[in-house]
Amino acid sequence: MTDGRRIILDGRPIPYEDGDSVAVAVMRAGEHPQHGGTICLAGDCGNCAAAVDSVAYVRTCQTRARPGLVVRRHPAVGEPALPAVDKMNLAGYAPAPRIRVQREEADLVVIGAGDSGAAAATNAERQGRTVTVLDAHDEMEVVAVYAGPTIIVRTRGGMLHINAREVVVATGAAELHPVCPGSSLIGLVTARAARQLHAAGVHLGVAVAIGPAPSGVPSIPLQGRLLRFEGEGRVMGVVMADEGSDRERTTACDTVILDLGNSPRDLLSRMSGDLPVTVVGPAADAFPLPECPTTGTVCPCSNVSVEDLQGVWDRGFRELELVKRASLVGTGTCQGSVCLPYVRSFIADRTGGIPDPFTARPASRQITLAEAAAGVHIDAFRRTPLHDEHIALGARMDRFGGWWRPWHYGDHVAEYWSVREAVSLGDVSTLGKLIVSGPDAVEFLERLYPTNIADIRVGRSRYALLLNERGHLMDDGMICREAESRFVLTFTSAGASHAEMWVRDWVDTLGLRVHVLDRTMSLAAINVTGPLAGQLLERVGLSEQPRFLQHVRAEVAGVPCHVMRLSFTGEMSFELHHAVERSVELWRSLMAHGHDLGIAPHGLQALQALRLEKGNVIVGMDSELDSTPRRLGMEWAVKMDKPDFIGRSALARTAQLPDDRRLVGLTMPGMAPIEGSPIWFDHEVIGHVASSFTSPVLGHAVMLGWLKRAPFPEQVEVDGRSASVVRPPFYDPEGSRARA
């Protein structure tokens, strides 16, 4: 031993020897890694768990001692404290070190390098298979087996994720712990632990052995039935009784060595379900269960006693999984390794049948959040090419439909007025955009959409719903005809990915000659909207402007654009679709040329208000999963006289059913209630508010809401106030401003 070989236990340096685990070093110093309980030194129980280098619940018997390692024992009562974090000063904390992940493909993985594992590996290699052996002693600690099977391994260098064809679990057997009064005292060790401690030169004092005495370890064998351990903090004696007798015998001792039998160490196989996992060796053995305990702590991790088990039993929880959930037995650090045999014995004693072990779930070991999250990535959110422009303009960016989008630029009401009274720019690059081309393009779109396609003239566009086979709304957007057999389709930002898959699926299903290209991320789009939009576009070169629902290819500020005239805001609007690399140039030019017109960008918050005044539905916000055009009040967008389209037969059938659900417009004086507010009628909730906004131009609240009880009343109550059911749009019902 040298002076450098010290770990720090609760602030006090203690020496260790070469080869010591932390637990052995602690016990060599006459201490216990916790505050008592049987020590197995095999990683099976949680009785040596402590905080190591600030990570709690580390099994110290599986951790090599090394100079300066800081070990802090968990409190005797309660949980180890979480690190205190000053939420106001997160920048002051160094990020946790990144846990590296290595990924491998494997043929056969054998977990456990003991006798049975080695035999399984040798046999497999003889059959020409490639074998990977993982063993905790080699610092390859398997913590989980997932579907795949994928094996999650904690290694010295980080985490290892192995995709295997087949897995063999050869993890051996665990030693039984005692369940009786005094089992939480210091000085109780299993036979294997005693051998390890003796070999390491740890002095055990006067040791007594219950069960077969470990060879080579000086101990006094005790016969009879174990009743309890006695002592104050540390064991001082063992009380036994002869079989068939109540006469107690007390033997004084410093250490009790316990060999009470074994149980299969099969946690990993129990989390494998029906995966290709084979269990071999002692892990597959059916060891006899211990006698049913009558008193004492069954589950030291969750502090569940025999009396607690009896309590849940008496309340009617009489299956193993239910007993587990009701009492929390087996849910602690060791995940049932210590208590499961006793709980099975408890139930067998009361039912006459031995229950199967309970299911295990990852992870079998306490792993840190960093280890669990290693290699896992949060969803990636896209940025439009104008992202930095928005930031520079003071936008508050947020995530919508898989994109970072500006929610507002500081004053959403001012943004609203710039649209209603002047001109404004909106970044709509996130809209879905598909090109559909081919000799069967018209036929395909006629089958896809509930609107007529053939009569859309080249250069014209039409709003369309996208329905599924049940006639429920999936998405909406525009259909722009570019040529006889070529169309551009747009979809909502959030629905674009699904819509693309939907379109491709139907192209394949129908077997039509149609090409499809997704341009969602290839094209940016700027919506120029407001009564002065046309004037602005004229300044930047668009003198021949498309009329409402027309579209043209033209240069705008020198940038080639596909210009679509439509309106979501209720004002004159032109969507300028263009190549992403020209987007900043176009945006800046429009902003500069619109300066004296009062141009300002608008974010999503203003946009949602603008479109609400027009009664324009946002799919997924106003619609529900089973919203039909009738329920949405959008039957005008469905041409039932078409011979066929997706959802037609369902709409024909449901048209015969009672009309008992409807999206309606609602108005009321004053401020708008929050979205989601219940709608009341006759003291009953009959629906809810889907969208709401206090309209600046109208001076009162406007809403879209669902009424789900017929007949639909004309007056309802929302937020304790009377609201009128009206037919949207609330603003410019003739649409004259959009068509201007």
């Binding site: 290209l517 290839s522 190549a579």
Partner: protein
């Protein structure tokens, strides 16, 4: 940080046999995203025996050429799927949770993704 640059080219969706027969310049790298979908990096146009083919300029992909060592160090730890053995070959899937593609050739690999994801990919491969 990984320096991703815009990849200029032509995107073509056409009948697979027409794409198979298409001829490209010597400097063009043609990535077949699907049987009917190709991205020809460096190309400006193409002639195809498919009158309904969609042929458009494509500037929405960014990428970086990596040596084998760079591929091993930066990319391999972030993919959960096996790479193809043949070269050249196109592999497509998540890299560090970002939808990306790898054009694997002898000695070097082009890592590419949509420009909308460029910041995410660069950040995650640091």
């Amino acid at each position: 940080m990984l320096a991703l640059e815009v990849l200029q080219g032509v995107r073509v969706v056409a009948a697979p046999e027409a794409l198979d027969a298409a001829r490209w310049g010597d400097q063009t790298v043609v990535l077949r995203f699907a049987a009917d979908d190709a991205f020809a990096i460096g190309a400006t146009d193409t002639d195809l025996a498919d009158e309904h083919a969609i042929i458009v300029g494509e500037t929405a992909f960014v990428g970086a050429w990596l040596t084998d060592d760079e591929l091993d160090a930066w990319v391999i730890p972030h993919i959960e799927w096996p790479l193809p053995d043949h070269r050249p070959d196109l592999a497509q899937g998540f890299v560090a949770g970002v939808p990306a593609k790898l054009w694997l050739t002898e000695g070097r690999t082009l890592l590419l993704c949509p420009a909308a994801y460029a910041h995410e990919l660069s950040e995650r491969l640091r």
